[in-house]
Amino acid sequence: MSREKRDPLARRKERHVQPGARSRAMHAMAARAAMGRFVLQGCVDCGAVTYPPRDVCPRCWGELRWADHGRGARVLSVTTIRVSTDLYFRGQLPWRMGTVALDAGPVALAHLHAGLTAGDQAEMRLMLDRGGNAALFALPAGKEPDMSDRQWREFVVPVKDCTILVSDARGAIGRALVQALHAAGAGHIVAGLAPPARIADLSDSLLGMERVQPIPLDLTDPVMVAECISKIPGPLDIVINTARLVRGGGVSADGNLVEQRRMLDVAVLGLMRLVQASAPLLQGRPSAAFVDILSAQALAGDAAFAGYAAGEAARHALLQSFRHEMRATGVRVLSVFTGPSDDEDHQSVPPPKVAPARLAREIITALETGREVSCVGDVAVDAMDRWLADPALYIRERNL
């Protein structure tokens, strides 16, 4: 079963991340980059578009606002850096970067995809680097990035050949995910199955696929979590937390407290158990991620699912802190927001609902584009838009 033989006394390769100090304006850019947007500051008064981020318009001293812009650019000059004083980049040399003229106006320095040279048309992506800060990456115009591009791989989490733990592979989402990861070429998929084991598991063709390892896993049981992690052969690259217990109920009424307690144990403490067991493994990997699926209820819950929303909101908060803890290690923490999924948990919820296969596809996309925050399906997209626009109003509207 062992995928990698390693000398236990060998010195581990230390993982560094890009230098981290940034201005407040640059952090604002990163917050938008986290959602996959390509944004620049534009002047409210004169319309001038500016970069690097400033606190005032350099043309008229007017107010700047972030807005989405076209991704086109032209490469003006290129260099290959062969010497650096920084620990992270010293481990990455040689490194190609260049000057690009953005179609939106400003000139920017950018990381370059292999093959781009001066004069080429490029398509810009606003990425997060390993330290979680915004970075411009130029791709050849009209082409998909090559997942084997050495520099591009520093900004994304390739799924191919990775070892991936799916914490609950029994539910519809987990099953769809195992299927999709397998199809995407994952090297080894550890599929968590909450006990009790079922006779049907033995004949389940999904769990019987090559490169899939079923394993008992219940996030409410710390011993089982530790045992599961210890049984994963070779290094662990990605953890995807699909475990969830969805039960309705309000605060003052209809909340079965036995159910509610179990739900919060899976959602909140279960996440912490999984994180504490897996984070030390992820930190040693060149390209690691922890993915959690969150209900859009995390942003503002509705009264009919009060306990569930509370658990999702708690997880949302835990993920912020976990992400902060992982900044120095380069491990990416991805939040995938979704609306009600089309499964047994949401039988009484009207459409639109998210098909588990779609959610699985979008999780792989989030990994392979390095997107920290994704919203899958109309419900989640609508919730995030309204929450970003006016959180106080959105909370009221959810509970009218």
């Binding site: 201005s23 260099t79 062969r82 004083t85 000139v107 920017a108």
Partner: protein, 390 residues
Amino acid sequence: MTRARTPYDGVVLCAPVTVPYQRYSDQTAHWWAGRAMRCLAESTGLGPADIDGFCFASFSAMPDTAVGLVQHLGLSPRWLDHIPTGGASGIMALRRAARAVQCGDADIIACVAADTNHLDSFRHTLAAFSRFSQDAVYPYGFGGPNATFALITDVYMRAYGVTRDDFGKLCVAQRRNARSNPLALQRGELTLDDYLRARPISDPVHLFDCVMPCAGAEAFIVTTPEIAARYGLGAARVLATIERHNAYLDDAVQLRGGWAMDAESLWAMAGVAPADVDTLQAYDDYPVIVAMQLEDLGFCAKGRAAEFIRATRFEIDGDLPLNTNGGQLSLGQAGAAGGFQNVTEGLRQVLRQPLGAQVPDADIAAISGFGLVNYDRGVCTAAAIIEACR
């Protein structure tokens, strides 16, 4: 814009001082500044009480500014300035001090640049150099100024047909000039072949295009001709100066510097032409910037640097003696002192007090400065023409 500029009457520069550089130093910028003051005292006879103006430039005196230095050095000046413009700081110090002395705000101004270089201080200086650098330059490979100038050099070479051989000729000539300067940290022979075969640092910048960070200090005195005479100091007058910041801000890549905006004013005020200059002390952190200065200051037409370099000898006994102390490419770059050594060397040559070989019959020096890569280009440019008082 067309107002006539007031000549720098009643002002002279004197007492150029260089504290011998060291590759690494465990001393502080304050110590280096103190050594510069001591050297000034030894060469002039001036003491702390005589100096009533102080101008300071440094990257490594944190948390102190010129204010902290004044108390550290026991000065009680009635005029104080702090110049944070690195490679342009010497000329800016000179022109500010000159006006202060001319107007009677001060009589004897010590202009001092001092920087130390601890084992790991260059990395720290780079990491916290400027907000734009932190946000939008260093995260892109952390190549330091090498990468920024590589991007400029790449475009410049393609735009104007300048080759590595041309840059190499400048570097080789400067190294020849350094060979007579006992204070240059790099004095070994450098051939064009060595230059061309050096290892790449950030393409197309190679090893001998780069300056070596080091510790050091430079200083000079700005005062009146009468005071200079009283102390028996050789003196030079200021014929003209210019400075410009963030010039041509719409140029996508820096192919010209602020000198081009102001060169006409410089030569008109000086009353001399480039051909009258006996030596040029150009800012040389990367030969592409030297080539740019040759064009933008009018030593040749824009886009003609390649021809000019091929047709000119830059050695001390050549057609246009360039960076006669070896420049920072041979001396080392002692932080802000790198923006003062062009002033002290130009002054030494016209005063006929060279560290190494003397430019024959040198009377007029052109001095040029370039500083502060805040984002994708050097922001500050400055130049001065000085002439010996004979």
